[in-house]
């Protein structure tokens, strides 16, 4: 057998450890994309062609903007890591299915170029890029962003021209029940996703399944989604329309963008606290702000703004929730 002669110059030298877990940023990002896929596909089917166009435009433009910015900044192009794809997908899933196709492109520009790369790129952004994109569209085209047209499937009107939270804000809880034709039907429709709303936010069951998949994959810790959703449930029940303890927590937990926000936005690693303790504080804060906006604010829905507001205090939370070092307790 021929001897293998070692060439010293081919030896790679680095500091320990010399073993690394078989994991990468790309693996994490694509796994999140996969977890979102069922709810996104459901939205595409439920809302039809325009929703498909919005999803495609949003993802394609997000990836393209990332490519352009990284070329201009003379940085390594990282469009294959799935993070720009994820931003585009999340943005599309938070938009009404009726907006014109140029809006997700503008939103992607703001998300990728302003919110992400002007901060330094992946890992450095303070705010969730997809939510910044959505918030910018919200202030730029408030009418288009809050108008839902009646949805027709196979020639039959299946959903009224408003989201449940819109109806709740303008006409009250009884009108929500009337819209669905009873509480049981309301829960069923909101659980399955057969209601009006943003493209990817309606199907509670598919989003929860995706979220559980991420928890199973150890990409998301259960604390953030569970605590944020529970906070919303608790506070909406306590501060009900007919006085204390009269709210409908189940409705509120499934309504609007709470499920997608709690599982996929409030768990965005880059923009939330790093320690378990910090994440719990973040989740309670985001849940409480959501309820405050829903019940007392001018908007029917508050998940997007509440998460953005909590993003802004993440560095502060991090600072006060550092881990306790070994040997400090005597």
């Amino acid at each position: 057998m021929a001897e293998v002669n070692i060439n010293d110059k081919l030896l790679s030298v680095s500091t320990s450890p010399h073993l690394r877990a078989d994991d990468s940023i790309a693996k994490i990002m694509w796994t999140v994309n996969i977890a979102l896929a069922p709810a996104a596909l459901f939205g595409a089917w439920w809302f039809g062609m325009n929703a498909v166009m919005i999803i495609v435009a949003s993802i394609a433009s997000a990836v393209l903007f990332e490519y352009i910015v990284q070329k201009l900044r003379k940085k390594t192009v990282t469009i294959n890591d799935g993070s720009a794809f994820l931003t585009g997908l999340l943005l599309a899933m938070c938009l009404p299915p009726t907006v014109p196709v140029y809006m997700p492109v503008v939103g992607s520009f703001i998300a990728i170029v302003i919110a992400k790369h002007s901060m330094g790129g992946l890992g450095y952004n303070i705010f969730n890029p997809a939510h910044i994109g959505r918030a910018a569209l919200m202030v730029s085209w408030p009418v288009a962003m809050t108008t839902w047209s009646a949805l027709t499937v196979k020639g039959v009107d299946v959903v009224s021209s408003a989201t449940p939270l819109n109806v709740l804000k303008q006409q009250g809880y009884d009108s929500v029940l009337a819209m669905f034709g009873g509480q049981g039907a309301m829960y069923t429709n909101m659980f399955l996703g057969t209601r009006n709303g943003s493209i990817g936010e309606t199907s509670t069951v598919l989003l929860v399944l995706g979220g559980l998949f991420l928890i199973y994959k150890k990409i998301v810790k259960w604390e953030i989604p569970v605590i944020m959703i529970a906070t919303v449930g608790l506070l909406t029940w306590v501060f009900g329309p007919a006085g204390m303890m009269t709210g409908d927590p189940i409705f509120h937990m499934m309504a609007g963008g709470l499920i997608i926000g709690a599982f996929f936005m409030a768990t965005d690693m880059v923009t939330v606290p790093m320690t378990r303790k910090g994440q719990i504080i973040f989740a309670v804060g985001a849940g409480a702000l959501t309820v405050l906006i829903r019940l007392k604010g001018g908007y029917p829905e508050g998940v997007c703004y509440s998460i953005l507001l909590m993003n802004s205090v993440t560095p502060l939370i991090d600072r006060f929730t550092q881990p306790v070092k070994f040997g400090a307790r005597r």
């Binding site: 001897e3 293998v4 070692i6 060439n7 010293d8 081919l10 030896l11 790679s12 030298v13 680095s14 500091t15 320990s16 450890p17 010399h18 073993l19 690394r20 877990a21 078989d22 994991d23 990468s24 940023i25 693996k27 994490i28 330094g120 790129g121 992946l122 890992g123 450095y124 690693m269 880059v270 939330v272 790093m274 320690t275 550092q322 881990p323 306790v324 070092k325 070994f326 040997g327 400090a328 307790r329 005597r330």
Partner: protein
Amino acid sequence: MAISFRGGVHPNDRKSYTAGKPIEVAALPGKVIIPVRQHIGAPCTPVVNKGDTVKKGQVVAKAEAFVSSNIHASISGTVVDVADYPHPNFGKCLSVVIENDGKDEWAEGIPVQRDWKALETAELKSIIKEAGIVGMGGATFPTHVKLSPAPDKKIDTFILNAAECEPYLTADHRLMLEAQDRIVAGVLITMKVLGVTKGYVGIENNKPDAIEAMKKAFEGTGVEVAGLPTKYPQGAEKMLIKVLTGKEVPSGGLPMDVGVVVQNVGTVVAISDAVEKGIPLIERVTTISGQAIKEPKNLLLRVGTSCADAIAACGGFSSQPEKLIAGGPMMGFAQTSMDIPIMKGSSGILAFAAGEANLGVEQPCIRCGRCIDACPMGLNPSMLSVLGERNLFEEAKEEYNLLDCIECGCCAYSCPAKRNIVQYVKYCKAQNVAKQNAAKAAAAKAAEK
């Protein structure tokens, strides 16, 4: 007993490459290169000159400080050089080079037959000191220093560190299967020197045969053999003490602060050899492994044997290695040369084939927090790496507990962005020391004026 410590990781241990292979005595090398720095503390001073004839076990470099340890000739022959040679940790180091005369003759007075039970504590300690014994798990702290705790530290517990938590390494595992008598003697000698009656042997559960062998060997001695959860870094002193005794070594402190002394398996074997046979530390068991090694083995090697000779004894390479590592894969040092010698602390020599190390390109931190979850010391490695990247080494020390880091590598292991976190930590530590030294030098200069 605490069930576990916080944090830690579960790397693929790849111990099966060598776990079943009995210790093999390697052929004597043609020459040995013996560095004067093989321990933590002051380097030794060579006491032989070029041209001198030396015999096996003779002192070739003497310890002149308390925290230092004698170095002995590991073969008989002629000193052909006393000069700088490659060193696994310091690049180059003053070394004594001995050419083998093939006789393998002991120096006068070695070996002897001694009954340790008849010896006084002070004698035992002196024998251990003269024999040049250091911690053989890799940290190489001089053993006699560990056995001489300050009078105000009351030692009540001895722990034999048999966790061997580093992947690949099986040297201690094999010793537990093949050298039980020497391990038991070494442990009992150490406990006598320390004057303690409570003793533990901590072994990771991935070595059930070793646990069984040790349980049998220690029967009737009062020493408790404990199987521990397999989790890296179970063999880090602080983690081991926590799991076995429930005590946390205070931040900045030593095991003796909680009344514990820990020694590694190889070290107690060396203690037994020194006390019972008068043999100084001139050889050790080293695991030669990795996918680029043709026939991975556990070799009994003379100190100073070159890495090239050791690998040749394993049939050489099966492919061009991507990495050559002295020590274990989690805390060992990557090497650039095959000329480095086996030293007292060389627990392993690993040659990784392409892809085995799973190297990657470093990316920005995405704040996933896995390093924080993995850190057994309760630190924020992400923050330390970011501060290191920005040269903020003082903030790392003052506000993020830089000096508590034990450099176990769990953070970098678990990092999906492949950040070289331990490198930043080492850099920050070195910068802080450099800054302190500069300040001291400036103060001394000012005092002169």
